[in-house]
Amino acid sequence: MSVMVDIRSVHKSFGSLDVLKGIDLEVRTGEVTVVLGPSGSGKSTLLRTINHLEKVDHGAISVDGALIGYRRSGDKLYELPEREVLKQRTRIGFVFQNFHLFPHLTVLENVIEAPVAALKRPRNEAVDSARRLLERVGLADKADTYPRQLSGGQQQRVAIARALALEPKLLLFDEPTSALDPELVGEVLDVIRDLAGQGTTMIVVTHEIAFAREIADTVVFMADGRIVEQGPPGEVLDAPREDRTRAFLSKVL
C-alpha cells in the first residue's frame, strides 16, 4: 500500500523548549493512525506541523508525495509562498478540539466557505454537496442554524463536515471529543468510525483508548517529544513493550 504521510526526523522547539525531538512516522493510504500520549508530549504540535500551521525547525513532512511547506532543490528546502501552502492545506482536513466553527455564519455557510473561497467551486454545487455532507453527519435539518444554537457534539459534527467539504486526502483530528460532555462523545465517534470504515486516511489524537483499539490500524505512543512505541493496537495497547507506555495506559484505562 502507498504511503500517504511521511514524516522524517522532524524537530520543533518553541524558544528553548524542545517539543518534537526527532519524529519519524509513516501513515499508509487508507489507514487510521491513533496517537496517544500524556499532556504536553507534543501530539498537537505534531498534527499542526502536518498541515504547516506550525513550521518545523528540522526534517521534512510529505503528504501524498508532496513536500509540505517547502520546495526541494538539491539539498536545500525553500519555503513556499503562502498561496502554495494554502493550496496544500485544502488537501488536508483538520478538526480541532474546540471545533472553531465560524459563529457568525450558519452551519451551511460554514461548510461551503472553503469550497467556494479556496477551491472556487460554484456556489450551488457547493451547497448541494454541503447538504449531502450534513446529512452524512446526521445534521441535515440544522443547515440554517448558527453554531451556538447547537450542542457541542453537533458542533463537532459540523466541523467534521466542514473539513470533509474540501474532499481531503487526509484527515487530522486533534482530540475531537475532549471538549464534549460524556454523553455527546458517542455521536462524534460514530461519525469518525464511519469515515474509518470508508477507508479515509486519518491521524487521530485521542484519549479514548477503547475507541483507539477499535478503529486504529496503528497506535503511536508519544512521550516527551518522541515516539516511544508504535504498532497494531493489539501490541501497543494490550502488550506494551515500553515501561512508559505501560505507565500511561495504567493511568488512563
Binding site: 498541515n51 500551521l53 503562502e82 498561496r83 494554502l86 493550496k87 492545506r89 485544502t90 488536508i92 483538520f94 480541532f96 474546540n98 472553531h100 466553527l101 465560524f102 459563529p103 457568525h104 455564519l105 450558519t106 466557505e113 472553503a114 473561497a117 479556496a118 477551491l119 448558527y146 453554531p147 451556538r148 444554537q149 447547537l150 450542542s151 466542514r162 473539513a163 474540501l166
Partner: protein, 285 residues
C-alpha cells in the same frame, strides 16, 4: 442528632403546609419614590424656565430652523461627517492591519502615525493644513491654495485625525477575535484577504460598532470645528446669520436642536447595526 442539640438552634420560622395559600408583599421603597419626585420637580422647573425665558426667542428658532442657509449648513455637516467617517475608518483599518502584521516596518509606521495624530489637537492640525501654502507654495506646479480649498482642508484634517482613533478601535476589535478562528480559516486554505474580510472583521465588528457609534456622534459634533476655517457647516451658517441679526442665542439653539435630532437618529441606527453583527451569538435554547 439528639433532640436537645436541635433545641439550642434558634427556632426558624416554620413553613406552613400549604405554601400556595401565602401572598408575597414586595418590599416598600420610600427612598426611591422621594428621589424620583425630587428629580422630576427639578426637571420640571428647568424645562419651565427654558420655555418661559423670552431670551431664547423660540419663535425666531422656529423661523430659522428650516431656513435655506441652515439646511445647506446641515447638509454640509452631514456629508462631511459621512466622508470623514468612511475615509477615516478605511485608513484606520489599514493602519490596524499594519500594526498587527508581522512586518516590523509596517508595525512601526502604524504606531508612529497613531502617536502623531493623537498628539496634535485637531484644531492645530486644521490650521496647519489651512496654512500649508507657507510650507509648500506649489505642489506639482499647482498653487497649493487652489489645490486645498477650506472644505478639502476640512476633509483631510478631520480624516487624518479620525484614522488614528479608528485604527485603535479596529485593532481592539481584531484582537478580540479568538485566535482559533484564524487557525481554522488557515487550515481551510482561505487566503489572507478572505480571512480578514470574511472571518476576522465581521466578528471584530461586534466590539468595533459601539465605540465606532460613539466616534460617529463625536465626529458629527466635532465637524463644527471647521467653522474656524470658514467652512459653511451647520454651526458656521448659524453664526453667519447671528453676526447679521444679533440673535445669538436662538441661532445657537437652531444648531443645537439639529445636532440633537441627528444624534438621536444615529443612535437608533446604531441599535440596528449592533443587532445585525450580533447574529449567531445568542446561545442555545
Amino acid at each position: 442528632m439528639s433532640s436537645d442539640t436541635l433545641a439550642k438552634v434558634p427556632a426558624a420560622p416554620r413553613v406552613p403546609e400549604r405554601a400556595d395559600a401565602l401572598t408575597i408583599v414586595p418590599q416598600r421603597r420610600p427612598g426611591q419614590w422621594t428621589a424620583a419626585v425630587v428629580v422630576l420637580v427639578l426637571l420640571g422647573l428647568a424645562v419651565n424656565s427654558v420655555l418661559r425665558n423670552q431670551a431664547f426667542q423660540w419663535n425666531v428658532v422656529a423661523d430659522y430652523f428650516t431656513s435655506d442657509s441652515v439646511l445647506r449648513g446641515l447638509w454640509l455637516t452631514l456629508w462631511l461627517t459621512a466622508v470623514v467617517m468612511v475615509l477615516g475608518f478605511a485608513l484606520g483599518t489599514l493602519l490596524a492591519a499594519f500594526r498587527l502584521s508581522a512586518n516590523p516596518v509596517l508595525k512601526a509606521v502604524s504606531w508612529g502615525y497613531v502617536w502623531l495624530f493623537r498628539s496634535i489637537p485637531v484644531l492645530v492640525q486644521l490650521l496647519l493644513w489651512f496654512n500649508i501654502g507657507a510650507l509648500y507654495p506649489q505642489i506639482l506646479g499647482v498653487k497649493t491654495v487652489n489645490l486645498l480649498s477650506p472644505v478639502a482642508v476640512a476633509v483631510v484634517g478631520l480624516t487624518l485625525h479620525e484614522a488614528a482613533y479608528a485604527a485603535e478601535v479596529v485593532r481592539g476589535g481584531m484582537l478580540s477575535v479568538d485566535r482559533g478562528q484564524i487557525e481554522a480559516a488557515q487550515a481551510l486554505g482561505l487566503s489572507r484577504l478572505r480571512r480578514l474580510r470574511r472571518i476576522v472583521l465581521p466578528q471584530a465588528m461586534r466590539s468595533i460598532v459601539p465605540p465606532a457609534g460613539n466616534m460617529l456622534i463625536g465626529t458629527l459634533k466635532g465637524t463644527s470645528i471647521v467653522s474656524v476655517i470658514a467652512v459653511n457647516d451647520l454651526l458656521f451658517s448659524a453664526q453667519l446669520i447671528y453676526h447679521r441679526t444679533y440673535q445669538v442665542i436662538p441661532l445657537l439653539m437652531v444648531a443645537t436642536l439639529w445636532y440633537t435630532v441627528v444624534t438621536s437618529v444615529l443612535g437608533v441606527g446604531q441599535y440596528y447595526v449592533e443587532k445585525h453583527y450580533a447574529r449567531g451569538t445568542e446561545s442555545a435554547r
